[in-house]
Amino acid sequence: MNKDTAPQNDSLFEAPPMGEQERMVEAILFATADPVSVNELLGRMPHGCDPAEALANLRKRYEGRGVNIVKVGDGWAIRTAPDLGFLMQKETVETRKLSRAAIETLAIVAYHQPVTRAEIEEIRGVSVSRGTIDQLIELEWIRFGRRRMTPGRPVTFVVTQSFLDHFGLESARDLPGLKELRSAGLLESRPPPGLGTPGEGDDAEEDDDNQAEMFED
């Protein structure tokens, strides 16, 4: 130990016992905002102390504990044991109602899967924001299905097992049909729309294409 760097404190007093020195190092490492070098310890502890030894003892003492004494650059610091890092996350769970856009999009995917984004937009009559899709994917309620083998090869969306679990369905086919919805009073009673052929032009594929591109970027 280079004693020269120690301040010339009152050398009439003997250095504190090693146990005390360990306490001191412990307190300094704990309270100091930055890693502390041995020289710094030497400067802060009473004259005659041997911080290097105290540090070595202390280091041993903290071996295998919840926090360890680790070397950071030239200094020493107390740090959480690496295997306990997961405790430093605090999860707060907040329950929110799904937005109307998300519910509708989810319903369309469930009833029409596999379905492209363009198709969802066509059914909803409004564009579907990327965020809505992302949110449903993040919730693990929808996932990407196969790409549609049409020009532009748009991605499709399908519902997931999580979705079925959440809504207590065995399969998406268990979703009540329009008739049931109607008889349950969920649909206005109205003559069922004919099983019409697509009213859209033949350029539907092109639309799909464009929108798929929009979606991609």
Binding site: F30, A31, T92, V93, H112, F167, L181, L186, G196, G199
Partner: protein
């Protein structure tokens, strides 16, 4: 200086010096109660045994001196002086039975309580501040690891929400022609629904391809989808006993006809 001291024999030298000091420091007092507490120290007794009458006289003397020295006293000092003069008269005069309200003794006891309480709070404040303090005598963690707040938002939706959402879309606009959601795919259910409407008229064997909807014969994907759906629907209808189905040989056209109920 010394002559003055002997002339005023009602108060001691130290009391008078204290009073003078008080007057000089009048601005340092935090109100009349603070002043009274300071004055009470000159009695050098436990606050519980303090003579409120003597204290009232001290205070009134102080206010008198302040007036002589033309010191501006805040209104609350004068209010207190008036109140103490009233208290003094109550304490000195025998109680008047016709007079309502608390006795002089009661009022004096309460003032003594207030002084004692203020004193106690001052002592407690001093004890509090004398304690070891965080950041001065003992220390908190220097390197803190922020707890990463992972806010997990769970979204809920019920099956009802879902169905209502779907119903909402499907019933939104009356005038929009029904659009088949998947332009190139026909489901068995759709084919079934279509065929149920048509099968009633199919008395004779008819090629299944005749049942394919208009507009679905141009695109190969559409043809595949609608053929598969129609075929599956035919099987379903045959299972239900609604139609009969036949095929001459492998890859030959598939034909269907309405199954005539036995009693017909």
């Amino acid at each position: 200086m010394q002559g003055d001291e002997f002339q005023e024999d009602t108060i001691s030298v130290s009391e008078r010096m204290a009073a003078e000091a008080l007057i000089v420091d009048v601005g340092a007092f935090e109100g009349p109660l603070d002043l009274l507490l300071t004055l009470s120290r000159t009695q050098k007794v436990d606050l519980r045994q303090i003579s409120i009458l003597a204290l009232a006289e001290q205070y009134l003397a102080f206010v008198e001196k302040a007036k002589q020295l033309r010191l501006e006293l805040a209104a609350d000092y004068l209010v207190m002086a008036a109140w103490l003069a009233f208290l003094k008269s109550r304490l000195l005069l025998p109680p008047d039975p016709s007079e309502e309200g608390p006795t002089g003794e009661e009022l004096a006891a309460h003032l003594a309580f207030q002084l004692e309480r203020l004193q106690a709070m001052r002592e407690s404040a001093a004890k509090l501040m004398a304690r070891d303090q965080l950041g001065r005598d003992f220390f908190a963690r220097g390197i803190t690891e922020d707890v990463q707040r992972v806010r997990r938002v769970t979204y809920t939706a019920t099956l009802l929400d879902l169905m209502q959402g779907y119903a909402r879309i499907r019933t939104r606009d009356d005038f929009r022609p029904f659009v088949f959601d998947r332009q190139h795919v026909m489901t068995m259910e759709q084919a079934l629904e279509r065929m149920r409407g048509l099968i009633g008229f199919a008395g004779n064997w008819t090629d299944i391809s005749q049942y394919l909807p208009d507009g679905w014969d141009s695109d190969s994907q559409r043809v595949r989808s609608t053929t598969a759906a129609t075929f599956a629907a035919s099987l379903e209808l045959a299972k239900e006993g609604k139609i009969e189905i036949r095929q001459g040989e492998t890859f030959a056209p598939i034909q269907i006809r309405r199954k005539v109920p036995r009693d017909e």
